[in-house]
């Protein structure tokens, strides 16, 4: 059984800090637009990130220190969780399948892709939204691919951004480089360890 990449999206954008909620909405909306019409129950979200939740955690505790623990604004609390981005993508896109957040850089990106491919392979989902996001700093960066099992739909291009492998978003950006170069439009995924290795190889070959 093959797992096919049918679409991808990546972009980077500057936000006025702290950007945790606005940036998540931007990413979630961008992805939701690309999966309209898929079966929500049969779609999963697999996010890798090294820093989702960090800005909100710092902002909430700074406010607690300034205002007192009993007076801090709780608005930031849901965004303190690293899973907030994946949850927001799922809510915006209406996804009701598995929703993963793996924390780290390239290794988390490969693991997220492996989970997605394994779920497709085992029939747990038909569509997988897989990607990485760097959520701290002056520029928010995100790169996502959309995978499907057992189809041969043509891949489409999207925006280009920088590549590298020191973060999950850059790792997926490098994977998209390879996809755009035509070296990995179709990803063969017999089982999880092979998928991990192959995705890692694609990422490495793009750098």
């Amino acid at each position: 059984m093959s797992v096919h990449c049918i679409d991808w999206w990546r972009d980077e954008r500057a936000f006025a800090a702290p950007a945790f909620d606005d940036a998540s909405r931007w990413i979630a909306t961008s992805i939701a637009d690309r999966i309209r019409g898929t079966d929500a129950e049969r779609t999963g979200v697999y996010v890798a990130t090294g820093d989702a939740g960090v800005e909100a955690s710092l902002a909430l505790w700074r406010e607690a220190l300034e205002q007192g623990a009993d007076f801090a604004n709780p608005r930031a609390f849901p965004w303190t969780l690293a899973s907030s981005l994946a949850g927001h993508i799922a809510a915006t896109a209406g996804v009701r399948g598995p929703v993963y957040t793996l924390v780290g850089a390239q290794e988390a990106a490969a693991a997220a892709a492996a989970h997605a491919a394994a779920d497709l392979e085992r029939g747990r989902v038909d569509t997988a939204i897989v990607g990485g996001a760097d959520m701290c700093g002056d520029v928010i960066r995100a790169a996502f691919i959309i995978l499907r099992a057992g189809t041969a739909a043509p891949a489409r291009n999207s925006a280009r951004a920088g590549t590298g492998t020191d973060s999950a978003a850059r790792a997926f950006g490098a994977l998209i480089d390879a996809l755009e170069a035509g070296s990995a439009v179709s990803i063969t995924a017999p089982y999880e360890p092979d998928v991990t290795v192959q995705l890692a190889m694609v990422i490495e070959s793009a750098n």
């Binding site: 989702a52 709780p74 849901p78």
Partner: protein, 380 residues
């Protein structure tokens, strides 16, 4: 059916103290670890009752790593597992090393890699000299179940020979502020499924299980304690913090676990419920259980009255309780329960109950973002 993945070791550091024995005796005894904390009162928290782990040094930026290492060492010793580079480490957490964030907000130097969720599996792998796959699951309060399911999958796929899986959650003042200001916490004691339940209570814990193929375990003379059958996952896609009121997302996770394992709802003999003690979550979970099990509803326990809510570690602690339940064939009660909410129509157990024929049990955990998990375990 693929070969069973079995539990051969367990270890835990909980508010009852170090080790699975004190955890189990406390759960069976119907005790609660909730108590008043002077430091929280002095720091101006509205809610000052919590379930925190005694000892293990101060609340500092490496506390979670210390708790995790203590629990992991107990699990590995219990399993008698020879350490090697083909052992996976999969850890779930909600807040990561929370104190590192708190110190950074106060002006201390900060590096995300020393505070975020992946600090735990990396620290444990380094300390234990394990070089296998290392994964950090930041999937809110369902994270422990995610880690257990992922470790089992890594073994099934051949990516790892064994897996150290579980959850780590050091006490988080950020979470105290967040839950308290969101008015989700009870000032009294957490009472899951009680008519007068008033909210959740924050906890702290680290819990680990060692997983192996059954044939590998038996080949080296290790006795399986329980088996991991299937993990069902779903998402509410509804609200950042609130569950779907009809519990349909939770029920879907339960159904997916049963479907993947190929067993009927009536085969499940016990549910370790999420049971956070909030009005909305417990009501939604009750609807999910009723929708999934109908008239064959098994006994239900909510362990957060005893342990508080250790967020990303909570389902890992419950998986250990489930393992011990299979061993001793008794179901732990819902500590602190005074009067079952009759509107929930649940078979909640208030006292320890014999379960001589128990074969399957379901470990449920849900988190912010509508993340739902149900881990199906089987007797050894």
């Amino acid at each position: 059916m693929s070969e069973r993945i079995v539990v051969t070791g367990i270890g835990a550091v909980t508010p009852f103290g170090d080790g699975v024995d004190v955890l189990w005796q406390s759960l069976i005894g119907g005790h609660t670890a909730a108590r008043e904390w002077d430091d929280l009162r002095a720091e101006g928290f509205r809610v000052t009752v919590a379930c925190r782990v005694p000892g293990h040094g101060p609340d500092d930026a490496t506390r979670g790593q210390r708790l995790g290492l203590a629990a992991a060492r107990e699990a590995i010793a219990c399993a008698g597992l020879p350490l090697s580079d083909t052992i996976a480490v999969c850890i779930g957490t909600t807040m990561g090393e929370s104190v590192a964030f708190e110190q950074a907000a106060a002006g201390a130097p900060f590096r995300a890699g020393s505070a975020a969720a992946n600090v735990f599996p990396r620290a444990l792998a380094d300390a234990l000299h394990i070089n296998g796959p290392v994964r950090a699951y930041a999937t809110a309060c369902a994270a422990g179940n995610y880690a257990v399911g992922a470790g089992a999958d890594l073994i099934r796929s051949g990516a790892a020979r064994a897996a150290l899986v579980g959850g780590v959650e050091p006490f988080s003042r950020i979470a105290m502020v967040g839950f308290s200001r969101a008015r989700a916490m009870t000032p009294d004691v957490c009472r899951p499924f009680d008519r007068n339940r008033a909210g959740m209570q924050l906890g702290e814990a680290a819990a680990f299980l060692v997983l192996e193929r059954e044939s590998d375990a038996r080949a080296r003379g290790a006795a399986p304690l329980a088996a991991i059958r299937a993990l069902g996952l779903s998402c509410d896609a509804f609200h950042p913090t609130a569950p779907r009121p009809d519990g349909s997302g939770m029920a879907e996770a339960m159904r997916r676990a049963l479907h993947e394992a190929g067993i009927a709802a009536g085969d499940v003999g016990w549910i370790a419920a999420h049971g956070s003690g909030t009005v909305a979550s417990d009501a939604a979970e009750a609807m999910a259980i009723r929708a999934t099990f109908g008239r064959e509803q098994p006994p239900v326990s909510g362990l957060k009255g005893a342990l508080g809510h250790s967020m990303g570690a909570a389902t890992a602690v419950s998986a250990i309780a489930m393992t011990l339940t299979f061993r001793d064939r008794v179901l732990p009660p819902t500590a602190t329960l005074l009067e079952i909410d009759p509107q929930l129509d649940l078979n909640v157990i208030a006292h320890v109950m014999p379960a001589p024929a128990l074969r399957y049990a379901l470990n449920c955990g849900y988190g912010f973002g509508g993340l739902n998990s149900a881990l199906l375990m089987e007797a050894a």
